[in-house]
Symmetry: C2
Subunit: 379 residues, 2 copies
Amino acid sequence: MTAITYEHIKTCKQTGARLGKVHTPHGSFDTPAFMPVGTLATVKTMSPEELKEMGANMILSNTYHLWLRPGHDIVKEAGGLHKFMNWDGAILTDSGGFQVFSLSDLRKIEEEGVHFRNHLSGEKLFLSPEKAMQIQNALGADIMMAFDECPPYPAEFDYMKKSVERTSRWAERCLEAHERKGDQGLFGIVQGGEYEELRRLSANDLTSLDFPGYAVGGLSVGEPKDVMNRVLEFTTPLLPSDKPRYLMGVGSPDSLIDGAIRGIDMFDCVLPTRIARNGTCMTSEGRLVVRNAKYARDFSPLDPNCDCHVCKNYTRAYIRHLVKANETFGFRLTTYHNLYFLLKLMEQVREAIMQDRLGDFRDEFFEKYGFNKPNAKNF
Amino acid sequence: MTAITYEHIKTCKQTGARLGKVHTPHGSFDTPAFMPVGTLATVKTMSPEELKEMGANMILSNTYHLWLRPGHDIVKEAGGLHKFMNWDGAILTDSGGFQVFSLSDLRKIEEEGVHFRNHLSGEKLFLSPEKAMQIQNALGADIMMAFDECPPYPAEFDYMKKSVERTSRWAERCLEAHERKGDQGLFGIVQGGEYEELRRLSANDLTSLDFPGYAVGGLSVGEPKDVMNRVLEFTTPLLPSDKPRYLMGVGSPDSLIDGAIRGIDMFDCVLPTRIARNGTCMTSEGRLVVRNAKYARDFSPLDPNCDCHVCKNYTRAYIRHLVKANETFGFRLTTYHNLYFLLKLMEQVREAIMQDRLGDFRDEFFEKYGFNKPNAKNF
């Protein structure tokens, strides 16, 4: 019995992208899918009802952050993360590894695990494969992630090789420590940076452990986009075709399309919600910085081609006013719109796969959006 | 033709409180009523749909703030405040006077108007009866307020007398300058501090001008509660019984009940929304400071006797976690609950008037809530 299964529906004849469904104990979702990020058991500014309304069936939450606040024991006592935050859809928790390596100070990596300091209090902490499993079992998400090391880009081949080997040993310990295999699916994370040999090594190690799904980690950490695409091209074919493939930390519209084309099923990123809180919006006409003075008397919607609740009811002028005055409701509106934009984009990607024309869709989208221009305003 | 009319339904035999309806160009609302405050064309953290859902039919917005940001010309160009903020219920705008006297520096009061400095930029500004009408006509709220002087408590009799006389002259100029009498009702504001003679003078002056409604101003400015009650006792009988009576800036549960008992129909206050953003909640058991450590593992609702969306779906432990982590959604939940609590309280007040038992209701509520105790935790 496994908590997570992948149902393959169709492969795009033009690109090889996969259309499918992931089944979880809290419902199924169509793939390729984008998962909004709810770091602290809340997708910043949004309610669960709004997430449902915009079409999100799956969200991500962060193990490291919930471990520190409010503490996984409290979430467990509440009946688990779903109940704690009133979200009955699917949830994925990361392993905490990425935050340990990106947020904390004075970390020391040992075979046993990682010593580091709490980025809030400075307190000394220790995270290991066993601890990451214990926390994630307490949180009770549908999908859990193995505890891995995520080295920065670029990393030397020799360091990366040692790191990949350790991540494989840690993955085995994670599987061993995971106590709720029946209702929580644990995904392995393939590392190896930009090195094909190491991605192959990592994929071999991890697929031999038979996880119910696999992530490609260590991308979107500062490397150029063509490096990401190249790595995906030689990595996804190494992963089993009957299990979901998750590209961690990717959420710009161009990379979502390019990832899907390379066989990725799941994505997550703070990008749409983070830029929203800065007043930056994703639109069918490209990036729109709504706080700009030119929108002060612009009574058109954020995106004239969008049919979301925000675009149907509110103007750029009003949203600009709220954002400039630092009014919460302004950030609710930009966040809602950006998440809707990406969820709708994934719907279009799935539709294009169904019609065997994701390559054409990519060209049209990149042209309209300006991603083909040398100075494209990327996110 | 007048934009605002008052329909009297019943007087409470036990207290003299009035049950009625105020009719506006944007719908009617039952009185006594509490109006949530949406200073900058948004009730902080809330959406218009949420306000409707909790039963708000009428909100207040602030002339001074909207004049500075985004500017009344932009709101006018948007089609008025209702359209700008996507609120099809009724709106009342204040005159800007209170903010000029409470927020700004270096003010200089002259017969013509008030010179002062913008509290954001320091820029020199001038507000007069004519200017206040021009701004409010541009905003287009259903109810506008006359531009008055609101002296602090306590004020000397001689100063207050001069102020009341000037406010009366300003009220006349407001009526003269008001250009949309057909679709916006202008209310006069009775001042006079704690002095019965001056309240009488002010009420005489203003009722002779035949406004479609009257406010009692200059209360809730630091005076003890028994002073407020005493002033209301001799002031509301001076106001016409066929027009709505509005007590400005009052929103603590005890004062809402005591104001209704003294013949008040409308109230507004930032209290429920402001304390919510500090994690303080109004409950049937009294004040609850949800960030307190004792709620960390409390999986009961904010108020066990409340049937609002928040109390049906979220726990104190979750809300505490969000509030402590400064997560917007936490403030959405506390704000929603507090506004619901007051709107529900007003429903109970109306029900008690219908049953001629508002005095009994007051006693029961004060007892349960602890307002009878010498060290009652007031808001």
